[in-house]
Amino acid sequence: MAGGTEAVAHQALEMTDHLPVLQVLIPFIAAPLAVFLGVRSLAWPIACAGAIASLVCSVVLMLATLDGSFISYHLGGWAPPYGIEYRVDAANAFVLLLISATAVVVMPFTKASVDAEIPKKDHTLFYACFMLCITGLLGVVVTGDAFNVFVFLEISSLSAYVLVSQGSHRDRRALTVAYDYLLMGTIGATFFVIGIGFLYMATGTLNMADIADRIAGQGDNRTIQAAFAFILVGMGLKVAIYPLHLWLPGAYNYAPSAVTVLLAATATKAAIYVVLRFTFSVFQPEFTFDTNVLYWIIIPFALLAMFAASLIAVFQTNFKRMLAYSSIAQIGYMLLGIGFFNLSGLTATMVHLFNHSITKAALFMAVGALVLRSGSTFYDRIRGMGKSMPLTSAVVVIGGLSLIGIPGTAGFVSKWMLVQAAFELGWWWMALLIVASSLLAVIYVWRVLEVLYLGDTAEGAQHKEAPMMMAGPMWVAALACIWFGFDTSLTLEASRVAANGLLSGNAGMAPVPTTAAGGGH
């Protein structure tokens, strides 16, 4: 299944061949369109159309790359390494699919929640930023050019800052938080760009595949090592690796519900993808510094995230904030999978990327619905809402179970892979640590469930079920959580192909004829 097949690197001849760029271009065009048409009521349909179109693109791309091949698209016909190359293989097609699918699913939810939370006059702007953010995320993932990654990263980040600040209509603190987010995000981006600068210094190229080719065998080059450090730390901030997570809880908490859903489900995932890409494709896994960093930096910090962030989540009294910290903890799992540096580990990371994304989408949408009805996310305000909002609460249950990793949910699949990876390495103690941290997840999830189902309804509260526009997407995500807990043919397969590709480091210019299957055995 892995590698081996002839890469489809060719001139763009037909419409379908332009998919990699269309993928990005469509939402990119939808954004200004939403503003400049000037009809507020049209903003949402346009955004929807854009999202759906890009989903179609990503589905086709995914299908095309599932066999382990990759598609190289030369922007403007300029051949790499001089021109910008969009390169799609299983790994990023998977993430593309994830991002665009999430965008589509949350669209109806966004409508309902935006109508409720944001003044009408800002709607067009909101949807424009929303689409820009998606554009940026898709671009980060699809591009094969290092500097282009930075550009798209900034597109998504800047629009995200704006989106977060939209929360100020509900709570003024959103502004401060957005400001913090901006500062920190910019620092991260700066580090990232410095790293790319180093790389350019060392190789004279910006094409990732080309860089990979050129730095092969230069494992002891200090410049390259420094580049790696800067890129890792810079992206680490976007990923919200544990001590660099400080922007995240605030941003998630105060952003409008729809934005939280989008950010939680996609933004950090795109960043993780970048980390993966750079760690395994640009820099070579054989580099000892690479593996050293994985073992000595990534794994400890991943563990730290799994426990410290989970503990914070345990003690939270604010549902949304709790989920934010849970996200940080779950990111720890993904990092741990990277740190394991074997096929199962990377598969676990990839699959968890996906599974956690749908889980958190479901949960944050449920939170959005709760906010809509109760006006707050604090436990004492949403007490007993399991009775008045059974559909929403059921989503919380399903999402919560997936978060814990109860079998039959998507979360279980990724946890299984992760533990399996640990066992394959013979690190049984690591397996125990993983399950121990998921016990913390049991606690924080169950606190919420108890609040929802066992608490007495707050005085005078007259809640009703969330509108269909919200409940629908929520349930799509929730059912996806269950579906992907059973049917892993898409997620696990794609993840495995992607992981295989990453581990074999076949990111060079020339198609790699054969690929070693996995590095962990």
Partner: protein, 489 residues
């Protein structure tokens, strides 16, 4: 009909009952009757399976592949069929009882209660027919999650606390230990299928076997092996039908059933016997049996006492597995059925007493037997079956276990079984004796009548069942023979 269809139907009917309960929350009679019909149909399905498969082993019925070489799949084999028969067969009876109990007690939230109850049954049937450890684990967790609302049903602080302990222990052990063990096994063998003779044979050796067994044994928290038994007494805050069916039959039996499955089909008794890996487990089980019995004597609260009795009795089955002899396994399997019927009778009687008199402490029940003869007679029969006295089913499983222990040359196991029987007498029969024969000073019978028909008929039926099992004991054992590779399997 095809076995596959029947297996799906057997799981589907409880699910359907659950959906009905949620959908028609305002029509109690409809809900209850549909549930009852579903119970009958589910049981009929399982009898249908029995009719087709007999004590053989069916083809694997694959639903979907989750991991490489790991499916969600079902397969009917005697042990599972027995468990499914017990769980679903008793469901209908308990449902009748639950109607009487819930209405008689004016409990709230009926739809949620019955919905979760039915889902739990579906999960139990799923566990019974699982073809591999993954499927089993899936339903195992479903069972935990679906029973949590039942434990927390009353919603007061005590119930919430009890439910927390319940969840913490069950989820905690299964996620932390069982899952680890399962994945470890998978990593070692590349499969989790339940295969005659075990899958680990030849794949592991040395110290790993007992360690892995330990992860399984303690990871299966539902088997309530000490020290992970605490959830069981905690779960007694639940309404009595829950204690009766779930915490005496479905949930705990799911635990020990899993234990047996692991022993027989994952490790294989030859491996356990050859390596002696399960010897320590036998000690733990023996300890669990005795200690829980002693603790049971100390408790005055009837349900709590019964809970500890269950802990002790579950130890029998774990012990049977740990003996790693054919008779031990068969004895454990038999005890699943024998104890199920006995204990459900006891719990239903405890509930009937509660419905009729609101009394929960044994010391308050003195003299009640004079006015509640049916309930107390049923309790007496159930108790005798638990103790393992003739002419009740419990005596056969005890015999099989003793022979199994003798085969293994484990005198300590025999001793534990003997001592436990005596302790059983000491904590179960006083209830009957005091209730039926002692006269109390404060005339507790004043205004007390026999529990409503819905509450006292089901225990009477199960009590008769205990009696019937005595005569079917040999048949059951023959039925289970293929599990250990003998007979016509």
């Amino acid at each position: 009909m095809d076995v596959a269809v029947l297996v799906f139907l057997a799981i589907l009917f409880p699910t359907l009952a659950s959906v009905t309960n949620m959908a028609y929350r305002n029509n109690p009679n409809l809900r209850d009757s549909v549930t009852f019909v579903c119970a009958i149909l589910a049981f009929a399905c399982i009898l249908g399976i029995l009719n087709i498969v007999g004590s053989g082993i069916s083809e694997e019925i694959v639903l979907t592949e989750v991991f490489e070489g790991l499916d969600i799949a079902f397969r009917v084999e005697p042990l599972g069929l027995l468990f499914a028969m017990v769980a679903s067969g008793l469901w209908g009876i308990t449902h009748v009882y639950a109607i009487g109990y819930m209405r008689g007690n004016n409990e709230k939230n009926h739809p949620r209660f019955f919905a979760c109850f039915s889902i739990a049954i579906a999960a139990a049937v799923g566990i019974a027919f699982s073809a591999n450890m993954l499927t089993l684990f899936l339903f195992y967790e479903l069972l935990t999650v679906s029973t949590y609302p039942l434990v927390a049903h009353k919603g007061n602080a005590k119930a919430v606390y009890g439910a927390r302990v319940y969840l913490a222990v069950l989820i905690g052990t299964s996620v932390a230990l069982l899952l680890t063990a399962v994945i470890w096994t998978y990593t070692l063998t590349g499969t989790l299928d339940f295969v005659q003779g075990g899958i680990l044979a030849g794949k592991v050796e040395g110290r790993i076997v007992p360690i892995l067994l330990g992860l399984y044994a303690f990871g299966i928290g539902k088997a309530a092996l000490m020290p992970f038994h605490k959830w069981l007494p905690s779960a007694m805050v639940a309404p009595t039908p829950v204690s009766a069916l779930l915490h005496a039959v479905a949930v705990v039996k799911a635990g020990v059933f899993t234990m047996l499955k692991v022993g027989v089909y994952i490790f294989g008794i030859e491996l356990l016997a050859d390596t002696g890996a399960s010897e320590w487990l036998m000690w733990v089980a023996a300890y669990s049996i005795i200690t829980a019995s002693i603790v049971a004597i100390m408790h005055d609260n009837l349900k709590r006492r019964l809970a500890y009795s269950t802990v002790s009795q579950l130890g029998y089955i774990t012990l049977g597995m740990a003996l790693a002899t054919k008779m031990g396994i068969l004895g454990g399997g038999l005890h699943i059925a024998m104890h199920a019927l006995g204990k459900i009778t006891l719990f239903m009687c405890a509930g009937a007493i509660y419905v009729a008199t609101r009394k929960t402490e044994i010391s308050q029940m003195t003299g009640l037997g004079q006015t509640m003869p049916v309930t107390f007679a049923a309790f007496g029969i159930g108790a005798l079956s638990i103790i393992g006295l003739p002419p009740l089913g419990g005596s056969w499983s005890k015999w099989a276990l003793i022979v199994g222990a003798a085969d293994a040359g484990q005198l300590i196991a025999i001793f534990a079984l003997m001592l436990s029987s005596i302790l059983n007498v000491a904590y179960l029969l006083p209830v009957v004796a005091k209730g039926a024969f002692l006269k109390s000073d404060d005339n507790p019978c004043k205004g007390v009548r026999e529990a409503p028909l819905f509450c006292c008929l089901p225990p009477a039926i199960t009590a008769v069942g205990c009696l019937a099992l005595f005569f079917w004991g040999g048949m059951l054992l023959d039925f289970l023979q293929p599990v250990v590779g003998d007979g016509h399997g």
